[in-house]
Structures are given as structure tokens and as C-alpha cells.
Amino acid sequence: MKGGLLLHQYRYDQKQFWREPAGVFFTVVLPLLFLFLFVSIFGNDTTEIDGRPIKASTYYVPGIVTLAVVSATVVNLAITFTILREKGLLKRVRSTPLPPWVYLAGRVLTAMVITVLMVVAVVGLGRLVYGVSVPSRTLPGLALTVLVGTAACCALGFAMTAAIPSENAAPAVTNAIMLPLYFFSGVFIPDTSLPEWMRSFASIFPVRHLFQSFLEAFDPGATGAGIAWDHLGVLALWGVLGAVVAARYFRWTPRG
């Protein structure tokens, strides 16, 4: 019964996601565009992981996967729920018998489905256009990172709404936080070109650990199943922190 209700809500949330041009551009189009740009410009360069050389195109596929996951979860949910809160739609829905968690879960499910679509699209394009091999032996590492990363990032998206005062501030605040983190974490520019302090600083935050987990799964020199337990552990801790903050500070009524 509740599962049916969730699917009902999910249908309309999915519909609304695809009808928002700005959201579709930043979540779907931009990561693919960046994959094209970065691989076209730097694709034939060589960079290193743990001192071993790898092709830059192999480096950029997990980088853009990271961008896609963060966009579809943290950024998407933080902006969407701030708007829903400020427009009073959260308040409105509380007057209905719909259990509140179903309303939240509909958007989370939407974010997760889009995340999986984007991972498949980026990895697929990387393979078809740039010949970056799809992880097979390390597929468990990729899958586990998608799972833990998406869950942690959804929690962080809800937590971030608490820091955003208005719907107009939502894109600015999320980008002001995420854009530097992408650069500091080596998502756009390989680690080898980054100053040490930048990498250390980025190591505090979840984006770098998400990226490192994906990188492990794509690293041709990786051993075992490609699972970076240390990075996944930090990511999970961030997820728990996000969930605690969200549970404490998430609001259903407008601030403005």
C-alpha cells in the first residue's frame, strides 16, 4: 500500500524533474558536456594514480561520474526542497493524509534513478566514444560507490536546505559550495596538478572521497573488487552527519 503510494508520488516527481529546463541542463546536459570538453582537451595526456601512469580520459570518466552523482543528488535535492519549502508546497502537502516520508522519498527515488541513468550514460559514452573500459572485475566497487554515494549525498542535500534561506539563494549557495570542491577534489583537474594543501583541504569533504571511490573502480591497476573502503567509510560518515542535521533542521514551512 505504502509502496504503491511512493510509486504514485515518484511518477509525478519524475515528470516535474524533466519539465524543469534549468535542472535538466545542470543535472543531465552539463556533465555530458564536461565529459566531452575535458576528454577532448586533455584526453591524450597522461596523469598518475599512486605513481602509476593512466590516460587522462580514463581519469575523467570517474571524475564526471562524480559530478553527475553530486548534481543529481545534493544539488538537485537542496535546490528542489528549498523551492518546495519556500513556495509552501511542503506545507500544503502536510494538510493531506500523505505520510510526509513518502513525499520526501518520491524525490529521493527520482534522484537515485537519475543518478543511475547518468552513471550509465557517462560510463557508456566513455566506452563508446573514448574507449575507456567499463569496470568488470571492479564492478562491485562501482556499484557500491553509487549506492553509498547516492545515499550519503541525498542526506547531505536535505541537510543543505537548512543553510539556504530562500529559493533565489538556492542555486547560488549550492554552487558556491560545490564548484570549488570539484576543483579542489581533482574532479576537473588531475591531482598531480593540484597543490598539496588543496588536496588536504578537499580530503575533509565528501566530494573527494566520492571521486576517489569511483577512481578506484576505474583504475586499471586496482587490485581486488575496486572497493576503496577508507573513502567509502568517510563518505558514509558524512551521510550520517547529513541525516542527523536534516532530521534536526529540515523545515516544512517557508522561512520567508
Binding site: 503510494l5 504514485h8 508520488q9 509552501g88 508546497l89 506545507k91 500544503r92 493531506t96 493524509p97
Partner: protein
């Protein structure tokens, strides 16, 4: 007698130092359209949001459909429809999609097509909500409140910002709800709206109810307690020349030179005395008029500074 749908006793709500609601008592019976009338900031929305369960009362007893709205039992929300003061619509869905989505939240909703027809949105049913006019958006908002087929509806200033035609349309829609047997709790700061729609009106000022009753009875108007007779006297005739029964009670009308008024609870007798006296002296009482104060007069007097 059946238990009232809404029962409120000694309701208080404070925000820090500020007391928004200071001792409100209310009883709304089943099938009634009850209007809560008052200027901005009188405490209307605060009270309604306590009844809807959005806010917690500081003190007092609140029962809506036999339950505390802060701790509604299972099934309570299905029986209550809410239209908030501000429009709250998902802009990217169409009218039909929005209603179908909301219908899914309820165990036994009204039909979507039938509800679209009831609120007069058939022609706009497949338009995105963002493309609707203000009046159409409010109609959809009301339709969302109706889709679960509730027994009780809260409408918080449903026509604020409407043009006169849209307001008429909304009134007819609300009047239709009466035919459906719904209990409606309405807030408004429009007198004509309360007069047109409500079975009973309570006037709220500074968090207190200052008058309550049927619109026609407010300010004891129906009992004929106060009728105001106004007239003018020709030059050379003084107030002191008027018949003794009325002379002592006649006052000049404030702000209108030469006009006199007489407030009376026995208009027939006083008019007879006045006109009998005038006819006997062949005096024409200039612009003679007798009227009962309108709801608006009562409202302005009660809510004035």
C-alpha cells in the same frame, strides 16, 4: 444536539511577547459556513492554522472533528480540506495532473473530472498551473482541498487579490459547497464576502472576538435596536423647536453641515412624532432618511481605533 465540528475554548497564542490570539471561544456546527472577519493582523490566520494543526496553541482547548489537530488520529486529515492563504501549486504540472496526484493521497477521493467541472476549470484542465490566471489558480487550490471529499474545509482569505468577476465566481463555488453539505470555516477581510456567504460571522480584533452572530443580526441590527434617522431642517428652524419626544436625542451629523441624526430603537414612533410635527408646521424635512447600519458600518465601528 450533535457535537460541534469545531469547538474552541479560551484559545491563546503568543509569539514571544506578542499575543496574537487572546481568548477566543468558537463553536461551528455541521453544515455551517462560518466566517472569521477582521483586519490584517487581527489573529485570523493564526487561529485557522491552529485549527488546521500547523501551529500549537499556547493555551486553551481546541477540538476539530472531535480531535486535537496537533495529534490527529488516523483518518483525520482525510476529513479536512485546507486552502492556505497563499497560493501553493506545483507550477510544472497541469491542472489534471495536480488533481490526480493529490487524489492519490486519499483513500476514497472525489472523481478528478467531476472536481475539475465543479470548480469550472474544464477548459484549462490540461494547462500547466503556471499558465493559469490568479482566479483559476485559486479555483484549483480549492479543488485540491475538495479532492479528498472532506467534511470540513478551511479557506483562508480565498478571494484576496481577486478582480470582482473572479470574486463572484469564487463565491458561487463556495456557495455550492453548502449544497454539498460541507462545513466551511472561512476567513476574510471583506464584509460583502461574509454577508454573501456566511451563516454566521465572528469579528476578530486584536486577538479577541468583538462580535458574533448571523450577518443580518450583528450589532443587534435585526432587532431594530438601532435605526438611524437623518434629515435637515430649513433655515430659521432650530433643533429646540423639534417636538419634545425627540429634541433631546437629535445630534448633528459629524462632518456634514446642517444634517441631523437621531439614533432610535423605536423608529416608527419617533418618525411619526417627527413627521407629524413637520406636516403640522408645513415644514419639509430635507432628505429625510431612515436606515439600519450595514455590516460594514458595524465592522468599522467594532474594529476601529
Amino acid at each position: 444536539m450533535a457535537e460541534p465540528v469545531i469547538a474552541v475554548r479560551a484559545l491563546h497564542k503568543s509569539y514571544g511577547e506578542r499575543e496574537a490570539v487572546r481568548g477566543v471561544d468558537l463553536a461551528v456546527e455541521q453544515g455551517e459556513i462560518f466566517a472569521f472577519l477582521g483586519p490584517n493582523g487581527a489573529g485570523k490566520t493564526t487561529t485557522v492554522e491552529i485549527l488546521e494543526g500547523y501551529r500549537q496553541a499556547t493555551a486553551g482547548e481546541v477540538s476539530v472533528l472531535g480531535a486535537d489537530p496537533q495529534h490527529p488520529p488516523a483518518g483525520w486529515r482525510e476529513r479536512v480540506g485546507v486552502v492556505l492563504q497563499e497560493l501553493r501549486l506545483p507550477s510544472l504540472l497541469t491542472v489534471r495532473e495536480t488533481l490526480t496526484m493529490y487524489a492519490g493521497y486519499y483513500p476514497s477521493p472525489r472523481g478528478v473530472a467531476e472536481t475539475i467541472e465543479l470548480v469550472g476549470l474544464v477548459a484549462a484542465a490540461d494547462q500547466r498551473n503556471s499558465k493559469l490566471s490568479g482566479g483559476q489558480q485559486r479555483r484549483l487550490d480549492v479543488a485540491l482541498a475538495l479532492i479528498g471529499d472532506p467534511e470540513l474545509l478551511f479557506l483562508d482569505e480565498p478571494t484576496t487579490g481577486f478582480d470582482p468577476a473572479a470574486r463572484r465566481g469564487a463565491w458561487e463555488l463556495i456557495a455550492d459547497l453548502r449544497r454539498l453539505g460541507k462545513t466551511v470555516f472561512l476567513t476574510t477581510h471583506y464584509m460583502d464576502e461574509a454577508q454573501f456567504l456566511a451563516d454566521r460571522v465572528a469579528i476578530l480584533k486584536d486577538g479577541r472576538i468583538v462580535a458574533e452572530g448571523r450577518p443580518a443580526e450583528l450589532g443587534r441590527r435585526e432587532a431594530g435596536a438601532v435605526t438611524v434617522v437623518t434629515f435637515g431642517l430649513p433655515a430659521g428652524v432650530a433643533v429646540a423647536d423639534l417636538p419634545a419626544e425627540v429634541a433631546g436625542r437629535v445630534r448633528p451629523v459629524a462632518g456634514v453641515g446642517g444634517r441631523l441624526e437621531l439614533a432610535t430603537d423605536s423608529a416608527t414612533r419617533d418618525l411619526a412624532a417627527l413627521t407629524g410635527w413637520a406636516v403640522g408646521r408645513e415644514i419639509e424635512l430635507d432628505g429625510l432618511e431612515a436606515h439600519r447600519p450595514s455590516l460594514e458600518d458595524v465592522y468599522l465601528e467594532l474594529t476601529g481605533p
